[in-house]
């Protein structure tokens, strides 16, 4: 197997004071290979966005504290100085945000905002950059790019703005693209268009993608591997076929059961009882315990370790582990 492009080890993100930390990401470890598309799924508050933001040190510290290692191309991103980081952000790693309505600077034309990403990382002349910007606008499916290039963001719909954000992220052909719920804020029809466009771009550029979403359908369409997060912990990490065929963690099983399928006759959509605990309420043991249908006494004391269920499938659950043994 080739060397991973991105390798995260024991990532922890916490807020609050030293004595009373509120951990939002707990001992998260995973890796992404070059060109691979992984999906990170979980409910709101599962720590998936925080994980993504801390890769590029985009979480404001303080108030947050980030520890662990994030190796990208052999360098630990968490150890880099600000100026070293700026040569990776936007160039090696592109980032797409969730909120297209507020992710663009209202007083800069969209052309200038895309151009900025190119200008910061290349020596191209202004004219050459403009050609590149137009090319990117075409790539993200912007109609009539020659006139749109000089327009301010507030003249665009959410879908169009998200295309601009994607153009910014793709400006320097990054090795890794992190997309934090890129379609959540969009209308359903626009969601499909933007996703199709992203699939196209992926084929053309062959970037690795880390797609954060709560939508398992999107993951099935887009990704080769899935990481399931819950309350700041990774509960399961598996290739897409294995995960959908035989989910090992009760939480993943619940998620899959609650997905609407058209083939089976369903009377009522399955629902996982309860809600995600607020950070800091569960100090030890498995965070899913209060909502888990198969919880055991052990779960309250000790966080289950990752256990392997095949070459590309790991999960963290005492019950599953004992059932299999």
């Amino acid at each position: 197997m080739s060397k991973p492009l991105l390798e995260i080890r024991d990532l922890n993100v916490s807020f609050g004071t030293k004595d009373k930390p509120l951990c939002v990401v707990n001992d998260v470890s995973f890796s992404i290979n070059p060109g691979e598309a992984i999906g990170v799924v979980g409910e709101s508050g599962s720590g998936k966005s925080m994980t993504a933001l801390s890769i590029l040190q985009l979480v404001p510290t303080p108030p947050a504290r980030v520890t662990g290692q994030v190796y990208f191309d052999g360098k630990d991103l968490l150890q880099l100085s600000n100026s070293e980081l700026t040569s990776i952000r936007g160039k090696e790693i592109g980032f797409i945000f969730q909120e297209p309505m507020s992710s663009l600077n209202p007083v800069m034309t969209i052309g200038d905002q895309i151009d900025e990403a190119i200008m910061l990382h290349t020596d191209l002349s202004a004219d050459a950059r403009r050609v590149k910007v137009l090319e990117l606008l075409r790539l993200v499916g912007m109609p009539d790019p020659e006139t749109r290039i000089d327009v301010y963001p507030d003249q665009f719909s959410g879908g169009m703005r998200q295309r601009v954000v994607i153009a910014i992220a793709m400006a320097c052909n990054p090795k890794l693209l992190i997309a934090d719920e890129p379609t959540t804020a969009l209308d359903v029809t626009i969601q499909a268009q933007v996703l199709d466009m992203m699939l196209d771009i992926r084929k053309q550029y062959n970037s690795a993608i880390m797609l954060i979403t709560h939508d398992l359908g999107v993951v099935a369409e887009f990704c080769e591997r899935v990481i399931v997060m819950y309350a700041g912990h990774i509960l399961e990490d598996a290739d897409i076929n294995s995960l959908f065929a035989s989910p090992k963690h009760p939480y993943t099983q619940g998620l899959l059961k609650s997905v609407l399928t058209l083939t089976e006759k369903q009377h009522r959509l399955y629902q996982i009882q309860g809600s995600v605990p607020p950070p800091g309420t569960i100090k030890e043991g498995c965070p899913f315990r209060p909502r888990c249908p198969v919880r055991m006494d052990r779960c309250a004391v000790e966080m289950p370790p990752m256990k392997s269920y095949g070459p590309t499938h790991v999960a963290a659950c005492w019950a599953t582990a004992e059932g299999v043994e």
Binding site: T86, R89, G90, F97, E99, S102, N105, D154
Partner: protein, 312 residues
């Protein structure tokens, strides 16, 4: 854009009209007998009668009002009761000094205040931030005339670095004379603008597009100045308008302390000398300043915010 300016100009006309009406009410109706207010309780009947005749106070109010408006539109403010000079000449002689003092003070205040605010916002809750916040709190509390008096005592009286009074002659001498008075006003304005810059910048730096800029690989300096400050200029331009007007009202005391010519001192001297036409003209001039500064700030706002520019 042009249409917007025209619209704003049209909109300013009723404001000017309203301002003039309020000045008329304040000068002629509110005091009861303006002649008595103008000349004071010691004036005798004959003096009052002459004054009323001269100022046209015997006409019915509506006629007074129309004449007042007519004269104001023609910038005809009558003649001074003290030295028989047309008030218009007095205004023309004093206006440049007030304008000069205001502009220099505001420019100095901006060059100090905005970097202070940036410093505080980018070092939030660190010593630099606390010092800037303390500075702006004290700058808010300290009266301008007191600061002027202290600077005058220390730098002119004790140290002898600056002249004690006057406006000087010629450019360099004028500059030499304006440093201390302008510095007084600028210190206070920089406190206000520093606080305002800090608040607006902090608000902007917390917004999503700043994160986008960081994710693009923009350096922190670029994020703060190109993205942050550029957006913070929107609320700031309103604040700059306020501080120009505050400087203008502060100039009244400053002109008095440093014994400089200017509209403020003209007005205050006129009040003490009971020079009614000059008081009326001074009040009107200040009211006009307010309307004009607000109008200009509206235009600046349009220049700064592309959203308004594009819509018009």
């Amino acid at each position: 854009m042009t249409r917007y300016i025209l619209f704003r100009l049209l909109d300013a006309i009723p404001t000017v009209f309203l301002v003039l009406t309020l000045v008329f009410i304040a000068m002629r109706i509110l005091p009861g007998d303006p002649a008595l207010t103008a000349l004071g309780p010691l004036a005798d009947q004959a003096q009052l009668a002459i004054f009323r005749e001269r100022m046209g106070l015997n006409d019915p109010l509506w006629l007074q009002y129309l004449k007042f408006l007519w004269d104001a539109v023609h910038l005809d403010f009558g003649t001074s009761l003290i030295n028989d000079v047309p008030v218009r000449d007095l205004i023309i002689r004093n206006l440049p000094h007030t304008a000069y003092l205001t502009i220099v003070s505001v420019l100095m205040g901006l060059t100090v205040g905005i970097p202070l605010g940036v410093l505080a916002a980018t070092n939030r809750n660190k010593p630099a931030d606390h010092i800037v916040r303390l500075y702006s709190l004290i700058g808010y509390a300290i009266p301008d005339f007191y600061l002027a008096a202290v600077l005058l005592v220390v730098f002119s009286l004790k140290l002898g670095w600056f002249p004690i009074n006057g406006a000087g002659h010629g450019f360099w001498d004028g500059l030499y004379h304006i440093i201390l008075p302008a510095m007084t006003l600028a210190l206070l304005k920089s406190a206000f603008l520093g606080r305002l810059t800090r608040t607006s910048l902090l608000e902007v730096l917390g917004r999503d597009f700043v994160r986008t800029a960081r994710a693009k690989g923009a350096s922190e300096t670029r994020v703060v100045y190109k993205h942050g400050l550029r957006n913070a200029l929107l609320p700031l331009s309103t604040g700059i308008g306020i501080s120009i007007l505050a400087t203008l009202s502060g100039a009244v005391a400053i002109e008095l302390i440093f014994n400089r010519p200017g509209i403020g001192r003209l007005l205050i001297d006129a009040i003490h000398e009971r020079d009614y036409p000059v008081i009326q003209a001074g009040v009107m001039m200040f009211a006009f300043f307010v309307v004009i500064v607000n109008f200009i700030m509206d235009l600046v706002y349009v220049l700064v915010d592309p959203r308004i520019r594009m819509k018009s």
